[in-house]
């Protein structure tokens, strides 16, 4: 079963042709990892799916075309987004950040599940989100999408810029969330990808150059050739 189908997606930002015909599918109830060297267009791909960058080509979600739709319509249709730089609302409290993300359909039990997953957020609910540590901010960023029923979650570099201990915490949380969810995760941390990914996409120069099983990540030579990094690293 396919949740999302991207076909011949092109994105131009100013004069730069960033995505040059990206095509891939995202299977339902599986975690798809999107990997590649820096600057190949991974984050741009997620942003284009969210409608944050205007693209040409086709992005169909449950058979509905997303190109041309506004970001809030795409999000309302069940696509949740955890951005690269967390982008929590620093002047709002933790509770207000969550309340903002909540919809009419959000149940009280969803808050309880969030606080069970991230107990720190409950004790800091009245604290301004801007005064939280990077790891806690990432928890807010993840928590606000988990409040609602999502059909697919787009996660952009969730461990970027975090201290090693926090990387483990966030990775643990994501691994829990990933069970039974449809997710696309852009991540450089090979250990986290090996732990959660069930489907792998590799990008280079604005195109998908590999789509298939993540088992390939066990081959250090393949990893070095495709991603330019050593095959080690686990969190």
């Amino acid at each position: 079963m396919t949740a999302l189908h991207v076909n011949d997606l092109h994105v131009r930002i100013n004069q730069a042709h960033i995505l040059q015909g990206v095509s891939f599918t995202v299977p339902k109830h599986k975690v798809t990892a999107l990997m590649g060297r820096n600057g190949v267009g991974k984050s741009t791909t997620l942003k284009a799916i969210m409608g944050l960058y205007k693209g040409t080509g086709s992005i169909t979600f449950n058979g509905v075309e997303l190109i041309g739709k506004e970001t809030f319509e795409i999000a309302s249709s069940g696509i949740a987004y955890i951005p690269e730089d967390r982008e929590i609302f620093s002047t709002l409290t933790v509770k207000e950040n969550l309340e903002l993300a909540a919809r009419k359909s959000t149940k009280q039990s969803a808050y309880e599940q969030i606080y069970a997953l991230f107990p720190e957020l409950q004790s800091r609910s009245a604290q301004r989100a801007g005064s939280l540590s990077g790891g806690q901010q990432q928890m807010v960023s993840i928590a606000r999408v988990l409040l609602n029923e999502n059909e697919i979650i787009l996660v952009d570099e969730p461990t970027k810029g975090l201290a090693p201990k926090l990387v483990t915490e966030v990775a643990d949380a994501l691994a829990k969330v990933a069970k039974n969810e449809t997710m696309i995760i852009v991540e450089q941390n090979l250990g986290l990808v090996k732990r959660v990914a069930e489907h792998l996409l590799v990008m280079d120069q604005g195109r998908i150059i590999y789509e298939g099983s993540p088992e390939k990540l066990s081959d250090p030579e393949w990893v070095h050739a495709m991603l330019g990094v050593s095959g080690g690293g686990a969190h």
Partner: protein, 293 residues
Amino acid sequence: MDTFILMGITGIGLGALYFLIASGLTLIYGLMGVLNFAHGALLTVGAFAGLWFATKVATATNTTNFLLSMIVGGLAAGLIALIAEQLVITKLYERHMDQALVTVGLALVIGAVLAGWFGNDLHTYPTPLWFAKGIKIGTAIIPADRFMYIGVAIALLIGNWALLKFTRIGLIIRAGVENRTMVSALGINVKRAFSAVFFLGGFAAGVGGVLVSIYSNGVSPLIAGSYLIYGFIVVVIGGLGSVPGSFLAAMLIGIIKQYANYYVTGLGDFVVVLLLAIVLLVRPQGLLGRVNS
């Protein structure tokens, strides 16, 4: 000493008028990045709508009718702001130069329509008799209408704070001022918040228009005059997007301007511009503004 008190309180009254203009400007800029040069024209629309109500509908000059006329002025200006936003501004989001040109054009059109309709002469705004009295504070006698300006500004500040703090739309506006793209990515139609802010900004300007027409001894299409410029100065000194910052800056400017005009003989405008320059050099984000990361 009585002159010092008189100047201080009338300065606060003047600051209250600036705040009524600036509160809408700062939210509109903070949330949408729109420099709304038509905001001054909304002040004039509010003044004329209030005048129409006070002279054609509720003609008895008492406090209740005056307050009602002020609300009518606010609603009329809010409605015009909303129509302008829907017909013109929504087409030009992210096109800042075009927005500036269009809102300047709107201001000229509204001013010309009002001038053609009512002429440029001053029309007396009926007010309750107690407005003309003086209230003794210490040895100073303060014109009573100044307390109306101050009271309305404080009521608007509290109303604004309550809206932003306790309502869903207020939460969306506060988040949108910080990062409207992320608000959309959470599935929220942030453009509805834009419309609400335009209406509220117009409402405050319209209410301000009624009070300015009292302060200026009448209504004319020209009364907005320097108020829009002062509104922008207040917004910059207070910090873009900060309503409390605008309140603080408006009071500061009103008081400093009055003292400078009296004690340094007519140098009020110069001192305010000097204050603006100092704030821009020392604290470019304004008194209560945030530094953009």
